[in-house]
Amino acid sequence: MNQRRLHRSATMALMLSAAIAVFVSAAQAQTVLLENGKIIPVNGEPIEKGSVLIKNGRIEAVGASVDAPFDAKVIDCEGKVIFPGMIDAHTWRGLDVPNESPGVTPFLNVYDAIDPSQLFFEDSLRDGVLSIHVSPGNNTIIDGLTRVVHPIGLTPEQMTTAPDVAMKLSVTPKTGYDRMRQMAEFREAFRKLDEEMAQLAEKKYEDKLREDEKDLTVPPEEAREKGKELIEPKDIPDKNRNLLMLSQGKLRNFVYCGAAMDVPAAIRTAKQYGFFDQSVFVLGSETFKAIDALKDAGRPVVLDGNLVHTEADALTGEEEETFVPKVIDDAGLKFALQRQWGSTLGERYLWYQAARCVREGISRDHALKSITLWPAEMLGLGDRLGSLEKGKDANVLVLSGDPLKMTTWVELGFVQGEKVYDKAEDIRLNRLFAAPEDELGPSTAPVSQPVEEGHTEVHQGEYEEPETDQ
């Protein structure tokens, strides 16, 4: 089975490399001047006609007129819009299997599961999502470290924008667990950490005495206290390192709350175990009911791709719809939007999600920030990504029109100064718009694979609604 899978991946990689080759060959770190375009920098007022200078992988200048060096490659963006690369604040897509089966695995790293050959990355690029926060799924208790990648590159290294960005946790029960068990596991994980660290401290102290050939003269508590200072980073077992950092508030963390009742639990847990100040809450659609608690917490949130919560009234059976981002926005919280993968079209685009927010009365400014600057800040990359500012990574899009317009396509994409996408050279898109006589060869559908019994494949249902929250 493994071999078959390998073979398949190889075919896939081959197919894709054809597409990627185009991008890679065009990608050379050079000085580029995007001129005469409408600039939407996100962090400030739009510039109706201006230029963006990209140099050494960073944005060198943004303004109505920019002095460009003589060797800059000039791209005329007349009638086009220059926009920062969009950011997907949280997804398990792009991974092989998104969750390890044991619930508490803080020592894992998403790096090992990133599959660069997935169509997901190609689509993200086409849709203008240039930074993707790849995280373990929601079906966990304490899962591993996450990573921010850009959707271009043949290996996870090449794709990495920032490694080990955050830890993924979930207070919503994982498969086979109920809420009580989930929380019991949480308590147990941190209790064990404390105990093991205390034991380590005691051992360190005793070891030191042993080395100095001294006798032990203090009771255990004191020994532990004294031993604490003796612990060096190398002493901490791998399995505990991340959890320790988390409990010391040194690690950013994304906590999944699937239902409203999970929000207070998440806040309580985060505060109790000391990682609240670094928390970002990943919310299910029903959680807007806990808006008071969320507002008090004041932490940024990542919203469910299904922006509308529909619920039948328990008493009358009438269905009620709530547009969740509006509730969150009204509470003054910073939020990031996720893409929704179940739909045929639409919610799969981040810009479309933002457009829905505008439609429901959220300001355009906030809507645009929710797919660029805010997620960047949540990821601790606010100084590198999310807006068109001098010194930031040159993750820049050239769009055919306003980002929230239905008829707008991504025309060019730059990641860290390299041109990685050009619509004119997008093989799949060209095929989807080909005249009938052009198309006699392969179908336009993604390569469909034979279904293997009982073997869950992420590729298989890649564009299907996941059965459970992963």
Binding site: L345, M406, W409, A434, S448
Partner: protein, 425 residues
Amino acid sequence: MMRRLLLMALCLPLITATTLFADDRADESGPILLKVGKVYVSPNEIFEPGAIMIRDGKIDAVGESLPAIDDVRVIDMPEATITAGLIDAAATVGYRFGFHDAEHRSEVVPETRALDTVDLHDPGFADLAAQGVTTVYISPDAASVIGGQGAIVRTAGPRAQRIINPASSIKATIGREPIVKASFNRTPSRFSGTSFLTRRPTTRMGLTWVLRKAFHDAQMVNRGETPGTSGEGSPSAESMPILVDVVKGEKPLRIQARAQNDILTALRVAREFNLTFVLEEGTEAYRCIDELKAANVPVIYGPIFDYPSGWRAQAGEADRFRLSAPRELLDAGLTVALSACELQGEGGLGRMGAYARRCGLTRKEVLAAMTTTPAQILGIDGQAGTLAAGRGADLVVWSGEPFEATSKVNLVFAGGALVSGRIDK
């Protein structure tokens, strides 16, 4: 009779009581003047700015500006745009039992009615109405070779006024669905023979045979001959009157087909029995444009997608979809309506329109494909599809231009009544 009258008399004060209880939308029953930025009377007739007067459930007047008479409630929405209520000519909505919604006693069941198994209060209708779809043809389940009769209904309003045609065209399906879906496909044994437990067509050959046999027999009956009953898959006696109507051209026929070969099969069978039909879905219609044009077959195209899902993906019938297909069909001069099929709510017809624009259609073309064209295909162009004065007021008030990602359906009127959205006082 007396008793019923008495009961009605008893109910009368009650009805008044309930109308008192009903919320603020009760106020909208009076005449209303909507003043907006733009009115699409029909895709090619635009007032900018525009105004529409609704009185007694009908469009009283429409123009650039209308005088506000005393008793009229004026609603001023300078940013908004008004179009006619959208029409989906091939919706799948309101089915109650899913799997059991198609009658499986035979492959040919045109005598059944889709409306019988549809719940008109299903939230799906509210979803459609909320997104501006006011009229739908409820397409029968595709699990039969010749399925039932679809219904044309309004998506909102009192039940009595909602049913426009309870038994509209019958629907035949060419493709994997009648071959596989809901089928036991047991090999007929020596003892049990062929029954509804052993669905006969297991290939497209068998399917086409059943389809041809049905029309062949109907044609014989129409000529006054008695068809032989020995042939496998003979249509039942119950289905015959309807099939004869189809052959006579009195009952409209539509055929659901996605792949190129299936569409060509549909054209071939139609030619053989001299039938006219409407093509539903037509994912690969762009590959047989000339043939469709020659037969003058209207296409209800949709949904548009860039990754096939659900049954379409399973059956492998949508692998060769094209985003440019609607553009190509229109360019070829075919009659094209757009449909969202089973998609409702946010992802339904309205957004399908937005995507059609992304795929190269103009706003007017999209509007035509969702109002006037489907009305014409369904034969209700006398009542729906445009905002001409004197018609029932089925209209949509958009927050901006229709079919934009940032535009929202603000108000929907069906039969002159506000059925979705709220008017701020």
